[in-house]
């Protein structure tokens, strides 16, 4: 039975089989209530099983006595007791941020109905408020997860946790940009006639942007160097320089876009336009996200939050910023020089 063909004629001879299948579907659906009933009865807890009823050797049952770090050996509890001492792990920021993003997405979908912009605006406000709250929580150390000593770290023994997290995240981002840039190459390989370099996008402006971004990467490195030597004022100076250069990059990009729009080169003017706007747009969004992070770092520096001993966060930001820079270094020749 091919999918997405919503019905069939009696002559096809499929009637009895379909009817049997549908009855089977009903039986299957009814059987799922057994599962739900089982769950409900189990959760109510009237029938209590002993610890480790399966005599399992697995650590979550307490079967592997060499592991010392478990909170509650034996059967996992259902949370009635465990919630109290995890009070300090409550945070309203995740759900708030999600609600903001959801509203913005609903707004984007409603654009074609003409009611999108107010919803998008509300969504962006909620996003900004939740991110601000998240940053404040970090600034005032309201959400603190203590790191434990003596963990098994092979093969990453020399790398701090957040650095490993940042590298992993960047691996995912590499795949994202490979998809977007790869699509551009795929499309372009299929089209014999593409505008020659220099005709649509000005090479000198693109080169300027490249130099601006590369210099901003340099200023991040100098910022890290400064704080490693303990110099907070220098750190502030170089971070601010990075911010200004990043903002300059976005400004030049915006002027390029405005110029293209004024020449009648729009999103749907053809594939060169589509690919350019979407790729530089995604890259620009990443630069913007970097600038927001940078604003948090600058605020924290002004509060005296970094020192010779405590400056890893600046390096993690540096990793992200260098990544954004490298993407541009690929983007520039592919769009401007080819």
């Amino acid at each position: 039975m091919p999918r997405r063909i919503a019905t069939y004629s009696v002559d096809a001879g499929w009637s009895s089989l379909n009817l049997i299948a549908s009855v089977g579907g009903i039986i299957f659906a009814v059987s799922q209530f057994l599962l739900i009933a089982n769950l409900v009865i189990g959760v109510r807890g009237r029938i209590v099983s002993p610890p480790n009823p399966w005599r399992s050797l697995a650590p979550e049952w307490g079967g592997m006595p060499s592991i010392q770090a478990l909170d509650a050996p034996g059967m996992p509890t259902n949370g009635n007791g465990s919630s109290e001492h995890h009070e300090q792990h409550l945070s309203s920021r995740p759900i708030a941020l999600t609600i903001g993003v959801t509203l913005a997405m609903v707004g984007f979908s409603l654009l074609e109905l003409g009611v999108g912009w107010p919803v998008i605006f509300v969504g962006l406000v909620v996003i900004a408020w939740s991110l601000y709250g998240w940053a404040r929580d970090d600034l005032w150390s309201k959400f603190h997860v203590p790191e434990e000593e003596g963990r098994e770290l092979w093969p990453f023994s020399k790398i701090p946790k957040i650095k490993l997290g940042m590298w992993t995240f960047l691996a995912g981002e590499v795949i994202l940009f490979s998809g977007v840039l790869g699509s551009y190459l795929f499309i372009r390989a299929d089209i014999p006639r593409w505008p020659s370099p220099g005709t649509i996008h000005s090479i000198p402006i693109g080169l300027t942007n490249t130099l601006v971004l590369l210099t901003s990467s340099l200023s991040v490195v100098l910022a890290i160097q400064a704080i490693r030597a303990g110099n907070q004022k220098r750190l502030l100076m170089w971070l601010t320089t990075t911010f200004l250069l990043g903002a300059l990059f976005l400004g030049i990009k915006a002027s390029e876009w405005a110029d293209l729009f004024s020449k009648g080169f729009w999103f749907n003017s053809g594939l060169p336009g589509s690919t350019y706007f979407v790729t530089t747009g995604i890259h620009g969004l990443h630069v913007t996200a970097g600038l927001i992070l940078l604003a948090y770092l600058i605020k924290r520096t002004m509060n005296g939050g970094f020192s010779k001993e405590n400056n890893d966060t600046v390096e993690y930001f540096g990793l992200y910023w260098h990544f954004v820079d490298i993407i541009w270094v690929f983007l520039f020749p592919l769009f401007y020089l080819l």
Partner: protein, 411 residues
């Protein structure tokens, strides 16, 4: 706000987040099941009018998307959230607030996808593989479809953040004495799942970004005839193949824990199972996506390579896992006369390119390959309620006679 509400809305504790994922995934499973019952109700008798064509297509599409992405995988993530920290001796995930963020994005992404039913134009209706250009605004107009795709993008963000969280936790927060070798098999399989998620989902996100740009900004990524449809095929299936392993592996890991526990014996061959999965499944899963596209006119060498890679991929794990489980449960090695057919038959039935071409793209893993010419086709019928715009199989755009057995003509 009372304590119960505060606890469940603001928690970042892994056990609570695991419970949230579990309950929410059951709810989404329920919604998917309702869609399935609507489909079955529509098909129970010929010439039924329970659902219109468009509504039926929406049911098919959303049943697929919701069940795979909002029910199955999150169910695995629920168990992962609850048990992996316990299994490796960590206090919580690497980044607890990101973990909570992952959960809420998953839930709200699903709400957005469901919202699509209630907006003009209805929900996505081009199949769970959301093939472009069928998913482009020319053929699936309306905000309902757009909001479903944006909800999907939110889910992908949730999953990517979650994968970073789990990978860092498993690599970085194991208790003293818990070497990678000693790690229980469920945690190992979650580790593999997360690695595949990290590298597969961003490709779908790239595709969805371009599709959303097509829908919201009018760009021409998938609407043009230059690589448009095949571009989507490649992007989607580069995600789609690892996706099926992502859905599978938590289940494998769970079986590897449950059956030996019930049998009272340790899992035999655990190291070999892990080695086979790490060495064959995870790397090869990224090299075989073209086996979903065998009839799209791919170059022969690629077809050959991907067929062989698919064989190499599908044979070791069932053999290793079945052997190990049999030894654990029954106490002795399963006879080799049964092991080899078990492994090879699963490969033989699902992989060969030749079989796929003969059956016009309808074999089990080439399920999505419904294109049967060698060039990206130009688009035929524009009526969104006609059967033809949803099938898109006809060369030259001439439709088959509807309501007859046999379906669309072969090329």
């Amino acid at each position: 706000m009372n304590a119960w509400l505060k606890r469940w809305l603001f928690t970042t504790y892994h056990k609570d987040v695991g419970i949230l994922y579990f309950v929410t995934s059951l709810y989404f499973g329920f919604i998917g099941a309702i869609l399935a019952m609507l489909m079955r109700g529509q098909l129970a008798v010929p010439g039924n009018g329970l659902l219109t064509d468009l509504a039926y297509n929406q049911a098919v599409t959303m049943h697929g998307l919701i069940m795979i992405l909002w029910f199955l995988s999150p169910l695995g993530i629920a168990f992962a959230n609850y048990f992996v920290p316990l299994q490796i001796g960590a206090k919580d995930l690497a980044f607890p607030r990101l973990n909570a963020l992952s959960y809420w994005m998953y839930l709200f992404g699903g709400l957005l996808a469901a919202l699509g039913f209630f907006l003009p134009g209805g929900n996505a209706n081009g199949g769970w593989t959301t093939y472009a250009p069928l998913a482009d605004p020319a053929y699936s107009p309306g905000p309902g479809v757009t909001v479903a795709f944006l909800g999907l993008a939110l889910l992908i963000t949730s999953v990517t953040l979650g994968s970073v969280n789990f990978i860092v936790m498993i690599l970085y927060m194991r208790a003293p004495g818990m070497t990678m070798r000693k790690m229980p098999i469920f945690s190992w399989f979650i580790f593999f799942t997360m690695i595949q998620m990290l590298f597969a989902f961003p490709t779908l996100l790239a595709g969805l970004i371009m599709l959303s740009a097509d829908r919201l900004l009018g760009t021409l990524y998938f609407a043009s005839t230059s690589g448009g449809a095949i571009l989507w095929d490649n992007l989607f299936w580069f995600f789609g193949h690892p996706e099926v392993y992502i859905v599978l592996m938590p289940g494998f890991g769970a079986i590897g824990e449950i059956l030996p526990a019930l049998a009272g014996r340790a899992l035999a061959g655990k190291n070999i199972i892990i080695a086979a999965t790490a060495g064959a499944v995870v790397p090869l899963s990224f090299l075989v996506w073209q086996h979903h596209m065998f009839v799209t006119g791919t170059v022969l060498f690629i077809v050959q390579f991907q067929t062989f890679a698919s064989f190499g991929l599908i044979v070791p794990p069932p053999q290793a896992l079945t052997s190990g489980l049999h030894i654990s449960v029954v106490g002795r090695q399963w006879s080799w006369t049964f092991i080899y057919p078990n492994g090879y038959s699963s490969g033989n039935l699902t992989v060969p390119a030749g079989q796929d071409v003969v059956l016009n793209g309808r074999t089990s893993i080439a399920r999505g390959s419904e294109r049967s010419t060698s060039s990206p086709r130009s688009l035929g019928s524009t009526s969104s309620t006609s059967r033809c715009s949803t099938c898109m199989r006809c060369p030259g755009g001439s439709p088959p006679t509807p309501l007859t057995p046999g379906g669309p003509p072969s090329t």
